[in-house]
Amino acid sequence: MPINKHATQIRSIILSNRRIGVYHQIVLEVGDVVKYIKPGNFIAISVGGETSRMVLRRAFAISRTSDKGTVELIIAPYGGGSKWLCAQSEGTYVDVITPLGTAFGIPTEPVTALLVGGGYGSAPLFGLAEVLKSRGCRVIMALGASTAAKIYAPIEGKRSVTSLKIFTEDGSAGEAGRVTDSLPQLIEEHEVRVIYSCGPMPMLEALSEIAVAADIAHQCAVEESMACGVGICMTCVLPVKNANGKIKNLRSCIDGPVMDGESVQWRLVGQQL
């Protein structure tokens, strides 16, 4: 099977760049390739310009696409590469490669899905929510962050969501506490059949345990640091158990970012296999 068979490298123009809370919403024109982008896929962007000392491409989750050939990214200007990208103005061209990686699997039946996002990890979940809703699924969303400014929940994104719960660790928005705390109860109440998640690794690990206990599927989008995004550098590996029970280091760019939460061996991350 070809790897990343729809991945295309293009010069893409920044159509808009807006600050939303602590994040930037960047809209890029990617043209026809948009029809191959599915929720969960990511985009890798060259940063810093020609004389940059940053030699590696940056991977970003795609939050939404439009049939006009645009993709929307929600970026936290944290490191050198994301700061550079967030500082670019409309009309700037950037070198991008998309779509990359695996996508969220969509249920064949109209079930109730729970979407859990940590911080800006919520961004790709809104695009997913639109697709799930169009397939007749009920979408329950639970978002968590350390503080209110780090919750990303755009008004237009909420349309596809049946119910939205917000949790902050400092209690500055929604309920005080961690997003994972009330989920077992919520899963039982709403007869949730599948969890989709995106966010920091400890949250994904906690969700995997909750999903196993409730005996439901859990698809998570992982974030492991990548040098290339296309499968050649072998830096972004995670330990994953395969169907035969063998644990192998799999690339989160090729075999992810969307992975089966139960198969990822969270406790072995950072350990010698």
Binding site: A7, L56, M234
Partner: protein, 314 residues
């Protein structure tokens, strides 16, 4: 005027002097989405070991100014799976292939050579004796002329004249030309250099070494002058030995510089991480530069920086 873009390395012919670098192209499949593999000189595969290997723990990567540190530790499927899955696929693409091998003992390299002997579709073998990401620095064969020679002899003993052997060297030695001379005497047909330079990043938040393997190999434009120097020195000492040059090449101009230093072929590594079409792009840029400078062939430009001063006024 016709321009000859072909090159030879240890007797093997390649249509262009641009190659992938081992460990920076996996086994080729991932890059095939971005350019036709048959149109570059050859795909140099990741270094293959005898058995499947999980590699080092994460984090495996740290970006550094104009470069990066990696600590992969030779993760791979092992030679048997590689021969079944990867070589036939590369051959079907019409790509030329240089297989890179790595072992823990000189004998293991010999066993790998035995498995490769007779496999069709291979143009040369790169004997990687300089991977920095191993537990014991004493096992970096290329740090010692005797250990380096033993490995090359072990491979040469199995591979007769049918396949050229390139020994991959590290710049982390006092005198790289003496290591190069030793491996050539032991039977290598050419030198591949440079491997990454041993380095470390300490995370100032956790205040511990950032990489899971603590140390890693530095690559990228940051090490290019080291590579150019090492290639120049080996060319000076061994003017008839072919060199596959690498280390931070990111443009046609960089590749040209390495050819002037003495490389007959150029491998592209870290630049492919930032731009998966880098090998192809750099190949086109290099062709333009060579033609623009008036060279009729790649061969004419190899080692041109070594020419005597008396020819300057011509």
């Amino acid at each position: 005027m016709s321009f000859d873009f072909s090159t030879t390395l240890g007797g093997a012919w390649f249509p262009t002097p641009l190659f992938t670098a081992s460990g920076c192209a996996s086994s080729g499949k991932e890059l095939a989405q971005f350019f036709p593999l048959r149109e570059i000189g050859a795909v140099v595969t990741k270094s293959i070991m005898l058995k499947p290997r999980a590699g080092r723990p994460t984090p495996r990567m740290a970006e550094t100014p104009s470069g990066m540190l990696n600590s992969i530790g030779l993760q791979g499927p092992g030679i048997d799976a590689f021969l079944v899955e990867d070589i036939p696929w590369l051959a079907a693409q019409g790509a030329r292939v240089i297989v890179s091998i790595a072992g823990e003992t000189a004998e293991e390299y010999g066993v790998l050579a035995r498995k490769l002997r007779g496999v069709s579709g291979i143009s040369a073998i790169e004997v990687n004796i300089s991977c920095p990401n191993v537990e014991n620095r004493g096992l970096v064969f290329a740090c010692d002329p005797n250990s380096a020679s033993e490995v090359v002899k072990s491979v040469r003993g199995i591979i007769g004249g049918e396949l050229p052997i390139l020994a991959k060297l590290t710049p982390d030695v006092t005198n790289i030309a003496s290591i190069a001379s030793a491996v050539i005497r032991a039977g290598a047909d050419g030198i591949a250099m440079i491997n990454t330079v041993l380095g470390m990043v300490i995370n100032t938040e956790t205040m511990r070494p950032h990489l899971g393997g603590k140390t890693g190999g530095l690559s990228g434009p940051a090490i290019r002058p080291i590579a150019v120097r090492a290639i120049y020195q080996v060319r000076e000492a061994l003017p008839n030995v072919s060199i596959l040059g690498m280390g931070g090449v990111a443009s046609g101009k960089d590749a040209f510089e390495m050819i002037l230093a003495g490389a007959s072929g150029i491998s592209i590594g870290t630049a492919s991480f930032g731009d998966p079409s880098a090998v192809y792009r750099i190949q086109n840029e290099l062709r333009e530069i060579l033609i623009g400078k008036g060279f009729a062939s790649v061969k004419e430009a190899v080692g041109y920086a070594h020419r005597a001063n008396v020819t300057e006024g011509e």
